[in-house]
Homo-oligomer: 402 residues x 4
Amino acid sequence: MPQQALSDLLWPGDARAGDLFGDAAVVAAMVRVEQAWLHTLSGTPVDLSGLVEPDDLPALAEESEASGNPVVPLLALLRSRLGDAGLLHAGLTSQDVLDTALVLCLRETTGRLLDEVAAQIEALCELADRHRDTPMAGRTLTQHAVPITFGLKVAGWLTGVLDARDVLAAAADLPIQIGGAAGSLAAPTALAGAPGRARDWVARTAAELGLAVREPWHTARAPFTRFADALVTCSDAWGKIANDVLVGSRPEVGEIAEGTAEGRGGSSTMPNKRNPVLAVLVRRAALAAPPLAATMHVAAANAVDERPDGSWHVEWATLRTLSRRTVVAGSQTAELLSGLTVNAARMARTLDAARPGIDAEQRKFGADAPYRGATDDIIDAVLARAARESSGRGRADRRTAR
Amino acid sequence: MPQQALSDLLWPGDARAGDLFGDAAVVAAMVRVEQAWLHTLSGTPVDLSGLVEPDDLPALAEESEASGNPVVPLLALLRSRLGDAGLLHAGLTSQDVLDTALVLCLRETTGRLLDEVAAQIEALCELADRHRDTPMAGRTLTQHAVPITFGLKVAGWLTGVLDARDVLAAAADLPIQIGGAAGSLAAPTALAGAPGRARDWVARTAAELGLAVREPWHTARAPFTRFADALVTCSDAWGKIANDVLVGSRPEVGEIAEGTAEGRGGSSTMPNKRNPVLAVLVRRAALAAPPLAATMHVAAANAVDERPDGSWHVEWATLRTLSRRTVVAGSQTAELLSGLTVNAARMARTLDAARPGIDAEQRKFGADAPYRGATDDIIDAVLARAARESSGRGRADRRTAR
Amino acid sequence: MPQQALSDLLWPGDARAGDLFGDAAVVAAMVRVEQAWLHTLSGTPVDLSGLVEPDDLPALAEESEASGNPVVPLLALLRSRLGDAGLLHAGLTSQDVLDTALVLCLRETTGRLLDEVAAQIEALCELADRHRDTPMAGRTLTQHAVPITFGLKVAGWLTGVLDARDVLAAAADLPIQIGGAAGSLAAPTALAGAPGRARDWVARTAAELGLAVREPWHTARAPFTRFADALVTCSDAWGKIANDVLVGSRPEVGEIAEGTAEGRGGSSTMPNKRNPVLAVLVRRAALAAPPLAATMHVAAANAVDERPDGSWHVEWATLRTLSRRTVVAGSQTAELLSGLTVNAARMARTLDAARPGIDAEQRKFGADAPYRGATDDIIDAVLARAARESSGRGRADRRTAR
Amino acid sequence: MPQQALSDLLWPGDARAGDLFGDAAVVAAMVRVEQAWLHTLSGTPVDLSGLVEPDDLPALAEESEASGNPVVPLLALLRSRLGDAGLLHAGLTSQDVLDTALVLCLRETTGRLLDEVAAQIEALCELADRHRDTPMAGRTLTQHAVPITFGLKVAGWLTGVLDARDVLAAAADLPIQIGGAAGSLAAPTALAGAPGRARDWVARTAAELGLAVREPWHTARAPFTRFADALVTCSDAWGKIANDVLVGSRPEVGEIAEGTAEGRGGSSTMPNKRNPVLAVLVRRAALAAPPLAATMHVAAANAVDERPDGSWHVEWATLRTLSRRTVVAGSQTAELLSGLTVNAARMARTLDAARPGIDAEQRKFGADAPYRGATDDIIDAVLARAARESSGRGRADRRTAR
């Protein structure tokens, strides 16, 4: 099924996420799960990917209300197209297919994010190193505190991004979901003739899809909540960067600015305006993300029985929205960082103007200028962490998220 | 611009909202705002509604990132189509157009919701009256408490819906937003020649759009947070109904059931299943709504300057999602209530089986059976409230939300 | 029972809320509800207020776990102290007592808030009028937009506070909760001999407590969610003010500053620091409030049966936390506004430095300087609204919240 | 300083958390941080623990408003008591002390939680094994699906608890926070004479406190958000258990029940009631937790400068509330599980009554009864995971959280 880029008029930048988690992508993922299972059961490779057309999507979406999920109408469509559907979906339950399809989409999310994060880390390392000696006023609670360097500030940004990367990597190894109607693998076992063989089918399907194996988790939703929390941890880190850029690009501060791009930052009425659009949009995403992860936890906390009566259904669109927005914000942050303009002269001027107040602590300790403490060691330590993780675990994560 | 129904595969039932708040509807609303303003300034009726085609939407969405909002690319498009754009958008700022367009979309939301709520109230009144004498076990903290009647339970549902209706009605009279670049009406005044005339322009535009007049509220966002809170208050009330239906349709309880519809409630693997799909989907909406209103408040609390650096941008998609989902849930609740099946015999059987325990309080007070207290008075009072509000203020609200 | 001021080390400023909603206040409110009901039933005035001592509170709190709410151990205590408890609590259920006690505490919250809001409005009116001609740079998306006056900005703050006041006033008329075990008034009716007399008892108890009458709302929680939403609407409005103060008191901007108070704003290490502490603490409250109202809605949406299995219990501490924090933030905002220092010279200097860019729109429209549009009309309109509401509805609200 | 148990009347069960994170505990932790730093700088062991008395707490709390945090008044008090304060607090900033004190309190939280979780796991393993052959109806979307065993259901509970334990363990290794006024270690370096020596001081202080070392994270808050997310992941898992207990203890289901304890579950008016109080209170905690973690993320996303203007202050009380409530819910869940009553006969009866519908899938696949699939393998796999983690990593985690 050809995939179209989506775009949301009310979430500017949304097109950066491309077709990620769009209806077409979700249907393709569900088809891929059914295909892998069918392959496992029949022993014969099978290609179902051409059976659903883009034109089928609206009807699928509309028909999903009757059963409460999109798997039932998808199966009806696949069966009508296949003629002989044979073992299609045999032994699975709707949640097996939809959960595993969500996992496949989230893996795509992870891959996209790790690319953006790698680009951010590269830009941040470069900035931190280049500006390790660029003095500026440190600020706490909005007021001048003590002098710092811009490189130290960037090392703080980098710490946030590296932390987010670690949290994402720890959450990224999402497992397959196959448990059958009530999580006992009863139907697969009936088909396989023995529980061990049914479990082997699960393992083989997981291997074909490149997913980890796990006991059924229909109502133990930590894999999804952990992933959602990781997405928010990413946007938290980017939000901090955006906030600093927004303060720094206030004309009265004027220390940092977004790169200029043709047509960017214009106003509908004020010819003079050059708005820090990327930072504004990243901040937007950071403000909107936390309640979405909370929604995932509210859903998890309301799980009941062998499949819950509404809280499962909450998760789908929430994961999609959170995934797309995080990918968009990651891309915008990477672009923002790569084009960042640093006005070292203005930083120096503001620092000078802040004297002698800003040097009060230095005088209290009778210390020499520049009052930079362990700035170099801290920057070096953070850069070393970035280098270490990018060369080592980074590659492993990328493999996981293929 | 012809409007297409939307549909979201991951939010089954979404199609019930039709084209509400879709990209096409939002663009149409923005065009309508520009048109009303242009009419006011030029004195000549003008029809801009045909200038934007559905095919324009993806590009508009994508281009909205450069300026951070969709108004700038929309204006470019309108100007290119108009040839001589004249006074188009003269004196307005992006936020004037987008906020007022959101208000127009929210008014459509209100109208849709009041229709659904009216249908719910009708069904609830009928149920409460019909079952005022249908005895059943009252339950608190999951345990049998004292006998009640199903009519009394329905009167409780109705109270929730009437409360929600009141809260919605109080929030529905959303005002126009016209303030110019920084809320002083500077450009409109420059064009009008005098502040009084500029304010008169605002009033005339508001009249043409059927909106209330208000001083600029670019950064005082209570109109939007109050509306979002009202939407959540609606889904809270419906969530309570859905929860009771879900408990009541558990096979071990078996007291109430969703109406059966062809193909509804089926399972992908279990031929025996008839799932209470509408209640499940309504409960889903009720669980997912509160964080969205919280998002609106987080945005409002982060307002700063004369237009905020990200928190304004948070609101747009949030209002859309919340509006569509609430309309969908309202429609599903109305259908659920109109088709509800009540098993009075089963209620009676369960009540009998709960004896003598469930009569313990009655015995404590030496009261006669049936132990129904002021049930009739309470039901009558709630029915009277429903009748009073539907005949009086109801009509006024409908007028407001035209 | 003597009440002690509380104080929370991790919520600086908490002591401003005094004993509001503390355990002692809640117990006193519960005792007052039992007393009013007992008075109604027995026809004899009775004073239970001295029966519970501060030393009783820890045991009451601890014993509340066994029954899941504090009413059961309170009744045991009252009975042990009374000797002959007679009609104490006769016909009531725990939720009747606790909900009504919460309403009494929330009424105290309302009274405290309306006092703070009145002080804020007074300060804001004075500031808006005094600075109606104080020119400054208007800012949108952090960048200079067009000139405004500080009075216009304050009029925007005032709009937010007036909106919040309206929302609070509309939510403040909280009703009594008396429904008996399952909301049918069965036990009161048994005691009264007739439903009409039972309902009359409810009305008389409500009158004694100064509360509105209402049909039982054990599981229709809009009165509480609406109140919580109103509290957040207040902190939203104050958050906007705090954000502007924080930007304005950045040394690079330097346009506004908190009043200085002995010892305020100091740092543990930097002798130079004067932090805008009040604004910081108000912003803190505004950021933390929205999720608490969402918690109330999540609770309402999970209501089930005649008393829910957990979501009722969520509300109590949530309402307390939200109430205390909002009162604290309201007090801090009032103090912040009354002591605000405005640096008009600095505003003028920044505006001049922003030229000619900031005048671009003015030039586009060929308008004369000063480019202030309808600033005076807008300020006057907002001041008039403040005056109108304070003289009229204001008094009525205060009466309601007595 | 002697610590008193706290107790919150409006959060029944709160006393289970003892003095965890109370004002006294927080002050003691701050004193311990100052003491460790002073020891490091002076080279001489010092005991500050007796300097602050319980009677000092209210004043400390009240005075914390002036500086916006409790460190400044604590230092004033310590200095007044010490006479010669010497190097007390030398080189530190308030955030260093408060953040590290929070970390110490959170470590106490972790230790308490791991104890409760270990008790839960023990009870769950026993239940899963004992009931691996206890047949019951599996339920999806409230309806009978296929037969399962109660042991399988418990294995699902156990999966949730093990997942939560893993997430908690991964978040538990919280680091020290020492960065000085703006995160550069400028003052410590001035005191130490060289950055390497200042960093060595940090390492030695961390060692004395038993904490991990880390570059300053004043505005990179993933350590705290991750911990908060882990707490919510715990209450999610317990919420699922509570929900199943609540459904199972409905009289119409009657399959499981809380253990009976003297006086537990009583009603204020209905002598017949035995409410499932522990499950109700656990469900309460699960519903209320997600918004608190969202609050931590909103705070993180609003970080700015070298110390933020409000969002830092949001974290303190949020972490406290979330910690206490999670510990309480963990304890209640452990007690609930250890006393759970299982009615196998009732389960069997319901399953029989659900036939033949519940056997429809079995018939479809022509499978023999009992239709239990891989139930034993799944239970064994989950039990093996529990055993493996308890013997291996479990011990390591406990060590970390000492």
